[in-house]
Amino acid sequence: MSDNAALTVKNLVGGYDIVERKQHLYVDAVSNVSFSAFKNEVVGIAGESGCGKSTLIKIIYGLIMDPLVVKDGSIFVRHEEKTVDVLSLNPETRRRQLWWKVISYIPQNSMNVLNPTLRIRDHFFEVLRKHGGLGKKEAKEQILSYMEGLGLSRDVAKAYPHQLSGGMRQRVIIALALLLKPKIILADEPSTALDVIVQRGILQWLIEAQKRLGSTLIVVTHDMGVHAMVTDRLIIMYAGKVVEIGRSDNIFEDPLQPYTRLLISSLPKLRDNKPREGIMGMPPDLRNPPRGCRFHPRCPFMTDKCYEEPPLIEFDRGHYVACWLHVKNR
């Protein structure tokens, strides 16, 4: 966790306050998460459905709406040579000062967020006028050249959302998110509903844009294949907790946490018919998570120690893991 980070998440605790059968329950979706992300890097957040990865990304963006609550922690971003805590700002200030310009968010299933009654270019127009503070004429010219620079033709600019394919709509959403040159781009499953060839094209296009802007890109997906192809560093989450952080090269080569190891080895690979095993059992219910290490009920290496929570230790330079197997003198 360093001072020159573009984004630092510190001891973040958040989840959902819900009422079920007249009982108040708390879903512990993000449980004491800390990490940093730097300029010019692609960080992946991996984990299965319900591990809290999307909740984490929403909180980082500051999109905190009922029943989502943040109980503790801070999120620091660099903005105009200052460090700002996203959570200390009120929602209106967040919207005005940070969104689109400092942090951009590409939500899940985002190809359906476009307004069906607006032409594509008018979507850009609105963002530019509301957040970029430009006049009508200036905005119009800037949009067309911006879209053309990204390979979106005039036909696309004129079209309504329903006239475009899913892949093209996703490109429009990404182009919108990048319009005001954000320093941090948060992408939640940016390519999940797309066909593999389109997916490849879109992700390549997103990384290229991120490189050009020198921004930090955070990609959330359950797909370890995508993580292997696009990320520089990886954060593995399980049941609301970070269980491993490291360079993607190291994590794919030598995963430390048993969950990471099993997750990677359970995936069928192309042209490799070696028998594989799934991970036995199911992910836990976050209304009532297991104590200690949350993976212990499914872990083949489980010992009595695992009823206690393992610390996230730096096992190797920049490679962090939360597992008693890797704590010396246990």
Binding site: I197, V198, Q199, R200, I207, L267, P268, K269, L270, G278
Partner: protein, 326 residues
């Protein structure tokens, strides 16, 4: 008319299914002149294609849900779309389907066990409820579930993985010889997928059931199948042995597909990151003249304006002009 190949389990012959695009819109061929044969030994054929390739439509034609405009499907020599009386029941007993979203396959107001009971009664012909329970228990144990886990529960009380297992248990109740599984694992988490796939492998070996595994995911297809057919815009562009189709893909589309699959292996990164150009045309590809891939194909030439022939090379059949002259 009956099937012409004596030892065929399933013979799909020149199937064409036509849909209309929009209410007054143009007609297009969702499945266009598709043929293949499954022989009478347990095997897994993967039909791989992206959204809009026609793979699910083809599955529905084989299951007898859609009636094709042209062509025939023969199951053990009998025409699937022309079954009468007891033959119809015989077909349903022998050919079962498993679908993508198990939450949609079951009525939420009915106990899941009721489905298993009905299948046992109607297809297997066991009316005695104790005997039926035994039969159901056996099927459930094959998918790793206990009767007591299932008996008094409704759909919403199960996880997606459990429900998909129940769907599979239901499919094997009648001891079918062919199961058509349409994206059976794409809703499930990665750590649960492989256990379902392993189950299919085991059933093929132990019960001797054949599978048609329909998916968009080349990695899982490569894990369980013997043969792969790649579909593009209604056409099977390449069909052959698993190792030849994935190891030495011939059709430019298969090549691009194989190269684009993200796999959890860092060494593949360099190839995967090689810039790819995307096109915006999609609907047009259904009605384009000649080869439907030619608008995207890097090797397209004048010849591609006419329909490419099926060419047999080595262990696969490919529909592409590139191989026609050799």
């Amino acid at each position: 008319m009956n099937g012409s190949i004596p030892d065929a389990l399933l013979e799909v012959k020149d199937i064409t299914k036509i849909f209309r695009y929009g209410f007054f819109g143009f007609k297009f061929r969702a499945v266009d002149n598709v043929s293949f044969i499954l022989y009478n030994k347990p095997s897994v054929l993967a039909i791989v294609g992206e959204s809009g390739s026609g793979k699910s439509t083809l599955a529905r034609v084989i299951l007898g849900i859609h009636v094709p405009e042209y062509g025939h499907v023969f199951f053990k020599g009998k025409n699937v779309h022309n079954l009468k009386g007891s033959d119809r029941l015989w077909f349903i007993k022998n050919v079962q389907g498993i679908f993508q979203n198990p939450y949609e396959s079951f009525n939420p107001l009915k106990k899941v066990y009721k489905y298993l009971q009905e299948t046992t009664k109607n297809l297997v012909g066991i009316t005695d409820s104790n005997e039926a329970e035994d039969h159901i228990e056996k099927a459930l144990s094959k998918v790793g579930l206990r009767l007591s886990d299932v008996k008094d529960k409704y759909v919403h009380e199960f996880s997606g993985g459990e429900l998909q297992r129940i769907g599979i248990a239901r499919a094997i109740l009648s001891n079918p010889s062919l199961i058509i599984a349409d994206e059976p694992v794409s809703m499930l988490d990665a750590s649960l997928r492989v256990s379902i796939l392993n189950m299919f492998k085991r059933f093929r070996e132990e019960i001797g059931v054949s599978f048609i595994y329909i998916t968009h995911d080349l990695s899982t297809a490569s894990y369980i199948s013997d043969q792969i057919a790649v579909m593009y815009r209604g056409i099977i562009v390449e069909h052959g042995d698993l190792n030849s189709v994935l190891g030495e893909p011939l059709h430019p589309y298969t090549q691009s597909l194989v190269e684009s699959v993200p796999i959890p292996e860092r060494s593949r990164r360099e190839i995967w990151l090689k810039p790819l150009k995307l096109s915006g045309i999609e609907e047009k590809e259904f009605i384009v003249k000649g080869c439907r891939y030619r608008l995207r194909c890097p090797f397209a030439r004048d010849k591609c304006l006419t329909d490419p022939p099926s060419v047999q090379t080595g262990k696969s059949t490919v529909k592409c002009w590139l191989y026609a002259d050799k």
